[in-house]
Symmetry: C2
Subunit: 363 residues, 2 copies
C-alpha cells in the first residue's frame, strides 16, 4: 500500500513478514523500551477492567491527571493527557500555530512531520559528529531570530542519546523568554537517564510560561501499545490544548494506568539500578568491537557510526535481522546518513546475545 | 477545571460524583451501546495479548484493515482506521479542508466542534419537529450552493434516530457529485438499524468518489472504551488521510480487534434479534406514558419531547439520576432545547426497570 509512510523503530510487523521470524522470537533493539517489562500494576489494571470498556472512558481523565499531578508535584491545571506523546505534540503545535519553529537535528522525525502537516516552517539547527552531536547553546542562541516563534528540544535527544544539562537548558529558556519564543521540551526518555526526574525541567514550569514539557508512559513502563502521553505547561496553553483535543482520545485502560506512577516505586528503583549498571557496561563492550564509533549515551539507547566500509546501515540491519535481531537503521533521521544505526539497551542476557551476534556479523 | 468541555452522553464519572452512586450501579440510558456486552472474542484478544503492549502497535494496522476489507467487501486502499470515529472525522475534514460545509441539525455535536477547530464555516440546515426531524431532500438540495464544499450526514442520525433511505441518499449523492460537493456519511450506528449493513452506502463507494463513510466498532460491539473507528472512501482521500494520521494512533488491543467482524456472526445475529424485538416494544411502551411525545426510532436510541410542563430536560435528568438512571439531556444539541431528552435501548429487564422508574417520576 502506497500509504505506508511511517519509518520508525519497532516495526516488528514488517520484520516478521520480510524475514519470516515470528513476532515473539525477534530481539528488538530498534525501539527503546524498558526491558523490565510491563509493571504488574498495569497488567492487573487491564485484567480487572476489561468490562469497563463498555463505558465511555472519562473524557477529562480526572483520575489520571490527579496521579500525574501527585507524581510531578504540579497542579491539575498544568496538565494535559493524550493518545501517546504524539497527540500531545500535535495538540501543542496545533494550539500555538507558530509560523516558524527552530529544530536541532538529528532528532525524532515526528516534530518535522507534524510541522509539515500544520504548514509550519522549520529552521533546522545542525549538530556535529565531532562534537558528539551535542546541542550548541551558541548556535541555538544565534538562530533564535525574530521570526522564530517556538524552539523544540528533545531531551534526552533521540537518536543521539545526548542530554542538555539543567544549567544550559535554563539559559536557553531564559533567552527564549526574552525573545518571546516558546520552548517545547520532549522528555519522553527523561526517567531513563541517570538522575531521572532530577534532569527534568518540569519544576521550572511555574516560573516559565513559555515552556511546555512532553512526557509519556511508553518507554518507562514498557507499554508503547497502550498509548499514553501527557504534557505540562502554563494554564493558558493547557486550556487551549484541551479545547482542541479530540474527545475520548485516551482509551479506558490508559486512563486507568496513572496509578502506576505513584504505586510502583519499586519498579522505578529497579529501572534505575538496571540503567546505572547496564548502560556503562554495554557502552564499554560496544567500544571493544572494531569498525564502529560509539557515541556516549545518556539514556537507554546508543547511536553508532559504522566505520567499516564493508557495511552500511541497511546491510548491517539486514545481517542482524537474519539473526533475529532488529536494529534501527538511522539513515532517515535528517542530519544523519547510511553510516548510522541506533540500538536500544536491554537486559544483560539480551545484551550479551546482541554483542555476540554483532561480533559475528562484523567478523 | 475550566477545561472541562465535553458534553456527551455516558459521562458516568460525573454522575458518580454528583449523585454518589457507584459506577457499576448506574443504569446508563445516556449512551447508546449494544447491551449484549463485549463479545467473547474481544475479551479473549485482550486477555491473551497484554504482553504485546510492550511492542509498538502496527502503525499501518495491516491485519485490522484486512478484516474490515473482508467484512465490507471493499479493497484495502479504500480503508483508513483511527482512534475512534472522532479521529477519522477529524482526519477527513483536516485532509479536505473545506471552506464551508453543510450540516443538518440537530446532530452529533463533534462535527461542529471539529469544524470550528479547523476554522471551517458551517451552514446549518434545520429539520422540524412536525416532520419527525426528517432530513428534507428539497432543503438540502436548495442549500447545496456554490460555496459549499462538503455535506455531512449522520445516518442514522444522532439524536433523532432517523434514517435516510438508500433511494434518497443516492439522489443527494448524485446531486452533490454534480455540484462538486463531497459527502461524509457517519454510519456509526448503521449496524444497529433494522437491515444493518443493507442500509449502508459503502457499496456505492467505488462509483462515487465524492463519498466518504465513517464507521466504528464502538456501539455495535459495546467497546467505547477501546477506541476504534474506521473510514471508507476513494483512494485519493484515503491516501491524504494516512499522510496526516498520527503515528500509532490505534492502540494494540484495538488493532487486534478486527477479527470480531468476521468471526462472531453469532453476535451480529443476536444483536439483530434483540433490536427487532425490543425497539418496537420499547417505543410502544414509552408512548403509553402521558406527558411525552416519542419520535419513531430507527436505531438503538429514542428522542423524546417532554410535554408535561412540570418538567424540563434538566429536572427529568436529575430525577432519574436520583433513581440511578442516567438519561441524555438533549438541550445542548443545536436545534433542540430543554424540552428534549434522548434514551438508549437496552435489554428487556433494564428497559422494564427504566419504564417503571420513569412512570414513578412522571406521576
Amino acid at each position: 500500500m502506497e500509504q505506508f509512510k511511517y519509518i520508525h523503530g519497532g516495526d516488528l510487523h514488517k520484520t516478521e513478514k520480510e524475514h519470516g521470524i515470528s513476532l515473539d522470537k525477534i530481539l528488538d533493539y530498534s525501539s527503546n523500551i524498558n526491558p523490565l517489562g510491563i509493571p504488574e500494576e498495569i497488567v492487573n489494571i487491564i485484567k480487572n477492567n476489561i468490562d469497563k470498556l463498555k463505558m465511555y472512558p472519562d473524557a477529562h481523565c480526572r483520575e489520571l491527571i490527579k496521579e500525574i499531578s501527585k507524581y510531578l508535584d504540579v497542579s491539575l491545571e498544568h496538565i494535559i493527557v493524550g493518545n501517546g506523546a504524539i497527540e500531545v505534540i500535535f495538540l501543542y503545535l496545533f494550539s500555538i500555530r507558530p509560523k516558524k519553529i527552530l529544530l536541532p537535528i538529528p532528532t525524532f522525525s515526528e516534530y518535522e512531520n507534524i510541522a509539515e502537516m500544520l504548514k509550519i516552517d522549520v529552521d533546522f539547527i545542525e549538530t556535529f559528529e565531532d562534537n558528539g552531536f551535542l546541542f550548541s547553546y551558541q548556535l541555538i542562541s544565534k538562530k533564535m531570530t525574530e521570526e522564530i516563534e517556538a524552539l523544540i528540544l528533545c531531551n534526552p535527544n533521540n537518536p543521539t542519546s545526548t542530554l542538555i544539562r539543567e544549567k544550559d537548558l535554563k539559559k536557553i529558556i531564559k533567552e527564549a523568554g526574552q525573545k518571546n519564543i516558546r520552548v517545547m521540551i520532549d522528555e519522553t526518555f527523561i526517567e531513563l537517564t541517570s538522575g531521572g526526574n532530577e534532569n527534568s525541567i518540569v519544576k521550572f514550569i511555574k516560573e516559565n510560561d513559555n515552556v511546555f514539557v512532553v512526557r509519556a508512559f511508553t518507554k518507562l513502563f514498557s507499554i508503547p501499545g497502550l498509548r499514553l502521553g501527557y504534557g505540562i505547561g502554563c494554564k493558558s496553553i493547557i486550556q487551549k490544548m484541551w479545547k482542541r483535543k479530540a474527545c475520548w482520545s485516551v482509551n479506558t485502560f490508559a486512563s486507568l494506568a496513572g496509578s502506576v506512577l505513584n504505586n510502583d516505586r519499586e519498579y522505578l528503583k529497579k529501572t534505575d539500578k538496571w540503567l546505572t549498571n547496564e548502560l556503562v557496561w554495554f557502552f564499554e563492550e560496544l567500544k571493544k568491537i572494531p569498525g564502529f564509533k560509539i557515541f556516549k549515551p545518556e539514556t537507554n539507547f546508543i547511536l553508532i557510526k559504522i566505520l567499516d566500509e564493508r557495511f552500511n546501515s541497511k546491510i548491517l540491519k539486514s545481517k542482524m535481522a537474519e539473526k533475529g535481531i532488529l536494529i534501527r537503521d538511522a539513515e532517515n533521521f535528517r542530519g544523519l546518513n547510511n553510516r548510522y544505526i541506533r540500538v536500544a539497551l536491554k537486559d544483560r542476557k539480551s545484551n550479551e546475545s546482541f554483542l555476540k551476534n554483532l561480533k559475528e556479523v562484523m567478523r
